[in-house]
């Protein structure tokens, strides 16, 4: 495939490299609580995020996007794999070694209501990371809190209010301010806009973009909103049933999706242009997502794929490199098959 997509600026070492990350949650059954299997929430995913870019991570509910994000931030203990942040594998760090790394990576949560302690004032919520990682005077800390509130567009007089006194969009700004408090390099945005009104979504997304420009942030933007990801991300990764099925630069992925699942996802995005919308052909997938505790043999998508053939049900397709950083896990994308 000739690579028409803009070549990505590649640093020698990306900010974050995830290699073969697995996050399995054990299932215990019976009287003796024997281990009966595992929910393979994230099963062997590999990708990297370069400094300053936004990697969109999309997929339907339950495909393991949030788990992947949390495992990368080491909120979970990954089952296997490596998470290399700035050249250092953090996948199995413990205790203080992990704690001192926390300021570099932060998270913005999906539900701004649930992610703020209802019994703390906005000031103390935003100051919590500062309390934990810096030894500042009270005045310096307060100045920093005000600065952060200004940066995310919150009125600084709100410092003494409680989360329930705010609207959803404002609460999300509080969460963003907290995430920014320690000048992180890498932020996992776990569906930060999914719980917000459409009008507020735009504000928050614009805020995230502005902050990225000003502070040189790197985002892992987890979302199921494909149009928002198209707006925000520089590269997009698609997950299905705990596996990475396709990853490519934004234009490549939206214009020439290689994996049938990606094609189906993109065909479901409505277009605001009525002429294009009238011609849009939806690929409707049938059936349900298989259980991640009992995935089908072969390709995980083989049970629902409209272009499935025999090989898919036996062999698991690897991520084929299609050039220009475009990779897809489908036999149809196999270079040999394409040549034939």
């Amino acid at each position: 495939m000739s690579d028409a997509a803009t070549p990505l600026p590649r640093a020698a070492e990306p900010l974050l490299r995830v290699e073969g990350l697995k996050m399995h949650f054990p299932i215990y059954k019976g009287v003796l609580r024997r281990r009966a299997g595992a929910v393979k929430a994230v099963d062997d995913i590999t990708f990297s995020v370069a400094e300053g870019e936004t990697l969109g991570l999309v997929g339907e509910s339950g495909c393991g996007k949030s788990t992947a994000g949390r495992a990368i931030l080491r909120l979970y203990e990954p089952t296997a794999g490596a998470i290399v942040l700035e050249g250092r594998d953090i996948a199995h760090l413990e205790g203080d070694a992990l704690r001192t790394l926390r300021p570099k990576m932060q998270m913005i949560f999906q539900d701004p209501q649930a992610s703020l302690n209802p019994r703390m004032t906005v000031g103390s919520i935003i100051a919590e990371p500062l309390d934990e990682h810096t030894r500042q005077s009270r005045a310096a800390r307060r100045a920093r809190v005000t600065e952060l509130m200004d940066a995310v567009g919150l009125n600084r007089t709100f410092v003494n209010r409680y989360p329930h006194e705010f609207s959803g969009g404002q609460r999300q700004r509080i969460g963003i301010a907290r995430a920014l408090a320690l000048n992180p390099k890498f932020i996992v945005c776990d569906e930060p806009i999914a719980a917000l009104d459409v009008s507020i979504q735009a504000q928050v997304v614009n805020l995230l973009e502005d902050l990225q420009q000003q502070l040189g942030l790197t985002y892992l933007f987890i979302s199921h909103d494909l149009s928002m990801v198209r707006h925000l991300a520089t590269r997009v990764a698609v997950m299905y049933l705990g596996k990475l099925v396709e990853i490519a630069a934004r234009e490549t992925l939206y214009d020439r999706p290689a994996h049938p699942y990606t094609q189906a996802l993109i065909s479901a995005v409505p277009s605001p242009n009525p002429e294009i919308e009238a011609k849009r052909r939806r690929i409707v997938l049938k059936g349900d997502v298989p259980s991640p505790s009992n995935p089908p043999p072969g390709c995980a998508f083989s049970t629902r794929c409209p272009r499935v053939f025999d090989r898919c049900r036996i062999e698991t397709p690897p991520l084929y490199d299609l050039g220009g950083g475009h990779r897809a896990a489908c036999f149809l994308a196999e270079p040999a098959a394409r040549a034939a």
Partner: protein, 305 residues
Amino acid sequence: MSDASVGAPQIDAPQRSLWSDVWVAFRRHRGAMLGVVIFTAIVLCVVFGPMVYGTDPQFIDVRARNAPPSLVHPMGTDNIGRDIFAQVLQGGRVSMLVGVVAMLISLVIGTLIGVLAGYFRRLDGPLMRMTDLFLALPLLPLLLVAIMLFRDTLRVLFGPEAGIFLLIVFLIGITSWMQTARIVRGDVLALKEREFVLAAKSIGTPSRRIILRHILPNVLSPIMVSATIGVAGAIITESALSFLGLGFPPDFPTWGRLLYDGKDFMTLTPARVLWPGLAISLTVLSINFVGDGLRDALDPRIRGR
């Protein structure tokens, strides 16, 4: 960082602390203030009452046995002519002290075990089985055995009254924390999955500070409720022990003891059960009000309404 920055103007209001807010809201809570007034009044009465009201609770006025309330004996006398008012005042000291101290002990144990079991999955099994074990123990026989075993040692060490007080308070405390532990554990289990706890983890807050900062303030309501119930329970348990002859010495009045002594004379002198009973009820009620007010004041969503 961004536009607004170095040398930011002073924020108009200083950072409010949780406790100053709670105090302001508590002051505004009418029921709570009523509870505080009643409770303080009872405390003042039992602390200073015996000094002001000169009658000795042990003084036997033989000519005025089973006397109805009069000016000399405001609450009447018992069957051997002791002044009931003096006994209620004197008995309140021990009863209130037992109630409050035993409640504090059981609260501390119950909260500690509940939080540890709820927060640390590894401790959950052992701690909760221990709670079940304590719940399954027949309480009264256990107390009786413990008192039989340790009474004399403690009496020698601390004197007859202080010794039995320590023993009773300790025993009631360590046999009444189970409900609190279970309720707290349940709440902690739900709370620790909330995203703000996850956010604290992603910040790198260590477990002990997550518990202190995020978990404990959010489980205060059930703790408050079990505290108020605990005071009443401790007063009643103490009276049951006294009734069985294993609490304080028989001539040492407590509210529970007065109740039990008076119950046989209920038809003759109803005042004998009425006044100690009223004292217990008022104490428990006022503590309930205070607990209610505290719970409301500690919840920012209710505060200020």
